[in-house]
Amino acid sequence: MLIKRADRFTHSDVTPRALYLDRRRFITSGLVGGAAALALMPRSARAAAPSGQPLAAQKNAAMSLTEAQTPFKDATTYNNFYEFGTDKEDPSRNAHTLRTRPWSVKVEGHCAKPRSFDIEELLKLAPLEERIYSLRCVEAWSMIIPWIGYSLSALLKKVEPTGQAKFVEFITLYDPEQMPGQKKGLFGWSGIDYPYVEGLRMDEAMHPLTLLTVGMYGQVLPNQNGAPVRVVIPWKYGFKSGKSIVRIRLVSEQPKTAWEKAQPSEYGFYSNVNPTKDHPRWSQATERRIGEFRRRKTLPFNGYGDQVASLYAGMDLNKFY
């Protein structure tokens, strides 16, 4: 595999000679037994930070946090994108098989002007903004990431949703050749029913914070982060933010989302960040910010309560989790 794709690696990907020799010496020193070395070796083959294509964007300070940003390397090597494997470092190793051109996103359903948008058109549909958001994973860790994109509402307005459009469904690419994690495993094992589907209520989708995202850290989205286009909904757990989107449907019924289907007892449709509503198996009261040692308290709506709490007025969010 490596040989076939050798042209994808630059000189900076090569392990420095000193490190290589050091590792050699370490192994031969006898500390590492054969079995253990075999079992743990893949973890050392970590992909270097991709040197992506720059993407210009206007900083949107009003919608940005001022906290320290998560290092680019951490945000691009510690990912949940099961289409490329279930280990955190799998997407950064495997997502090179994703072809992000040509790419189009079909927007359809209850709207006056359903149509397909080519990725080049999407990049120019509205002025690109940089917004620094907090990303809170349901697994109780978080990152601060400078995303590039514009409010999803700009795209949705183009197709003129009708009154019947109550929900928006996001559908990720389904292509097991490009996304090896979608292949069925041993005994037909498949935890998630692909393609990955996520959804929002119409008012959530039209909220200015909901970002149609095409870049991060001043560059085009790396494959492992959901290239070429994804959504980011900062007040919800990370899995709500569908990646590598090929279809957006305006529907009248609440969509059945991928995690709801896989484990209905653990994942609800709303999945707003909520420190008082524990995941059935772990507490959501605290989180570990990547790069920090001590846990910090999780904030309701991931700190975006002032902007979004009104969307849920009168709703029992411990029931509609």
Binding site: G33, K88, W282, F293
Partner: protein, 218 residues
């Protein structure tokens, strides 16, 4: 087995059991414990606790199947290493992950079934580790010692539940461990039934028992 062979075997077991720790130390030294080091170290130590526990549980079935005596000579070493890794796994959770937040830890142990069974497995390992010396085996007597150490089956099942309940449903890995555990238990149960039918006592004494079949070579 010759004295030199026994020493070589023990040395190999020590090396293999210490290697994961050495590897973690090496990754820590080069600053490559992933962007979420505490989680990575906790999970790695947990993985190796279970692997070494399964290795210790494999000693008797291996003897039953092959008649070899040498696996039994590694059983205590492997069992103690499993306990050692379980303690490290617990210590990282207690000290690094939750930083001695006793209230949160207590709530977790009571409220999270995967943590409850994990704690139970760790606590049950304590009497087994404490009675692992030859002196304790003598003091307890072979029969009671064997009865006590059958707790290791319970510990194996608790460890499997711990992993199964904490992993996401989409992760098939816990089932690999469960398959190995089930196989090892099935071999013992098979042997036990065979001995019952033959009207003999099941074997499984710590060191001095007669092998199920005479060893092919010694």
């Amino acid at each position: 087995m010759t004295r030199r062979g026994r020493i070589a075997l023990k040395a190999l077991a020590w090396t293999v059991c210490l290697a994961p720790l050495g590897w973690l130390g090496y990754l820590a030294a080069i600053g490559d414990l992933t962007p979420n080091p505490i989680s990575f170290v906790t999970n790695t130590l947990g993985d190796w606790t279970f692997r070494i526990l399964l290795a210790s549980l494999a000693a008797t079935p291996l003897r039953i199947l092959t008649g070899w005596a040498w696996p039994i000579s590694l059983r205590r070493l492997l069992g103690l290493f499993a306990f050692f890794y379980a303690l490290l796994h617990f210590a990282v959770w207690l000290m690094l992950d939750h930083f001695f937040d006793w209230a949160a830890l207590g709530a977790d142990i009571v409220k999270r079934p995967y943590i409850t069974v994990g704690m139970a497995a760790l606590i049950l390992l304590v009497p087994l580790a404490a009675t692992s010396t030859s002196g304790m085996i003598r003091r307890l007597g072979g029969a009671s010692w064997r009865r006590l150490h059958r707790l290791v089956y319970v510990i194996g099942v608790l460890a499997a539940l711990h992993y199964l309940w904490l992993a996401k449903k989409v992760n098939p890995e816990p089932y690999y461990y469960i398959a190995v555990l089930a196989l090892l238990l099935a071999i013992r149960i098979g042997a036990w039934i065979r001995h019952r039918l033959a009207g003999r006592d099941p074997t499984g004494s710590p060191r001095a028992s007669t092998p199920a079949r005479p060893p092919a070579s010694s």
